[in-house]
């Protein structure tokens, strides 16, 4: 399943339902869960990402992302009291300073933009998270000038946010929204395979970039899969804690 053209997505399956109660807020604990989940998945998928990047890039995406997130986790763990926005800004700054290639500036900008949009709000609902994610997309597009269809991380990020927003609009919860986002991100990631790259090193290959899955879209899909899992895990932890932490908010 690890052929160079395969859309191997070992993380792309649904998480089992852990309960009925929908967690409706995001706080620092949830953001920490998310970052930790991303780090664990990047460790597991490092070689797969590198393999994808070797076909159309310069074979450093897996190593770069893994190194960056290892550094992010070290820094974030050292910060005891922090708002979600602060955590994301720490992550963004760490990424920019430790990750080479295009991934450092692009993901660094994404985390910094989301952290900036959140300010120092301690708890927020799914709508605010959407605004933060939209700020990430804008930041990535400002730096990378990529649109949907260019065979980049935007091909996973943009449809994920549209799906998330649609879920909220039809009355969905944070959980259904992150689920929709993950599904759309994975679909967007797979849809990069037949595309000819118009941005990044892959675009140097011209038509030869066709038939390969974009590594950046793949790592972005990984982050949405991690987000969904973090939201579910966070809700379970709240249950276990006997609802000492609030389970809903605006």
């Amino acid at each position: 399943m690890m052929g160079t053209t395969a859309a191997a997505v070992p993380w792309g399956r649904l998480m089992p339902e852990a309960g009925r109660e929908a967690a409706r807020i995001v706080d620092s604990a949830c953001v920490r869960l998310w970052l930790g989940e991303v780090a664990a998945r990047l460790e597991a998928e490092r070689d797969f990402l590198t393999q994808l990047d070797a076909a159309i890039g310069d074979a450093d995406h897996g190593v770069n992302m893994h190194r960056g997130f290892t550094a992010v986790m070290a820094r974030v763990s050292a910060v005891e009291e922090a708002t979600p926005g602060q955590l994301l800004r720490v992550a963004g700054r760490t990424f920019v300073s430790t990750v080479g290639g295009a991934a450092g500036p692009l993901y660094g900008t994404a985390f910094l933009a989301a952290g900036g949009a959140l300010g120092d709000t301690e708890r927020f609902g799914p709508r605010v998270l959407l605004d933060a994610l939209r700020a990430s997309l804008e930041g990535v597009q400002r730096v990378g000038a990529a649109s949907v269809g260019d065979k980049t991380m935007v091909d996973a990020l943009s449809p994920a946010l549209d799906a998330y927003e649609l879920e909220l609009r039809v009355g969905g919860s944070l959980e259904t929204a992150v689920n929709g986002a993950r599904e759309a991100a994975v679909a967007g990631m797979r849809a990069t395979i037949p595309l000819q790259a118009r941005k990044g090193r892959a675009s140097y290959l011209g038509p030869r970039s066709v038939g390969h899955q974009d590594p950046g879209a793949t790592s972005t899909a990984l982050m949405f899969a991690a987000l969904e899992q973090a939201v579910i895990a966070d809700r379970s932890q709240r249950f276990a804690a006997g609802a000492r932490r609030p389970v809903s908010g605006s």
Binding site: A55, G100, Q141, G200, Y204
Partner: protein, 258 residues
């Protein structure tokens, strides 16, 4: 134009455009030709080892003779042959990857690539084709073209590859003027986010630009606070030495401060 040669070329390009192997039916559909026609062309190409058939699936892919032709293309490129030693030396001195490129239309074709000497995993970029306005090699070459040729490229499509790609004509004209002024072209994340380039043009015995040589690497190393002085010096010296070897005399070397 000979129709069948054109069709054969289209078959090769179709097979070269993606990693998937293609069957006779798929190729016929893609090219809008009769299956029998495509089959005949494939058999001929196969006889010359320009395509080969996968025995298991019956599908066709590019053949080994193309690698020999590609290598012959590179070997016949005098610039590449002459640049091997200079590029190696430059990479060792600057501790960065070196690219040698030639302008083909609006793109720079990389004809030689020396890895950054740090034992990290790197992918050979020879054969990559980069829009001229987004890379240092391209700007270094175009700066010394005849005015008409330069104007044509400045008027052509200038795709935006990153948020920093120069796409406005005045900005590019200023960048080209700066190349002539300083002797080097600088690129700051204009092709790939996070990556930079420093390059200088190469000249032949007539004083005509024949390509460019330069460093490619992380922006924080190549352009820490503007272009790193040692890197600029190393690139200029490599370009000057290589140009002399290509027959450019001292008086015929424009813009190198010689």
């Amino acid at each position: 134009m000979i129709q069948s040669v054109g069709r054969a070329a289209r078959i090769l390009k179709a097979l070269g455009s993606e990693s998937a192997r293609l069957g006779v039916t798929e190729l016929a559909e893609r090219l809008g030709l009769a299956k029998a026609t495509v089959y005949g062309l494939l058999r001929t190409l196969e006889a010359h080892q320009l395509v080969e058939q996968d025995l298991e699936t019956g599908k066709y892919r590019l053949g080994p003779a193309l690698l020999q032709l590609g290598n012959a293309f590179l070997d016949n490129n005098e610039l590449r042959a002459r640049s091997l030693l200079w590029a190696e030396t430059l990479a060792g001195r600057a501790r960065e990857a070196v690219h040698v490129g030639v302008l083909y239309g609006a793109n720079v074709l990389l004809v030689h690539h020396v890895f950054r000497p740090d034992n990290s995993l790197q992918i050979l970029q020879v054969g990559a084709s980069i829009p001229w306005h987004a890379c240092a090699l391209g700007k270094a070459s175009v700066a010394y073209l005849e005015p008409e040729a330069r104007a044509e490229l400045l008027a052509g499509p200038l795709p935006r590859l990153t948020g920093r790609t120069l796409t406005a004509r005045p900005a590019l004209e200023a960048a080209l003027a700066a190349v002539v002024e300083t002797g080097v072209a600088v690129e700051d994340q204009e092709a790939i986010v996070g990556e930079a380039g420093i390059a200088a043009a190469l000249f032949d015995h007539r004083g005509a630009v024949v390509g460019a040589i330069g460093l490619a690497g992380p922006v924080e190393r190549l352009l820490p606070h503007g272009p790193a002085t040692e890197a600029v010096t190393a690139v200029k010296e490599a370009a000057r030495g290589l140009s002399r070897e290509l027959g450019a005399g001292r008086p015929a070397l424009p813009g190198t401060g010689a």
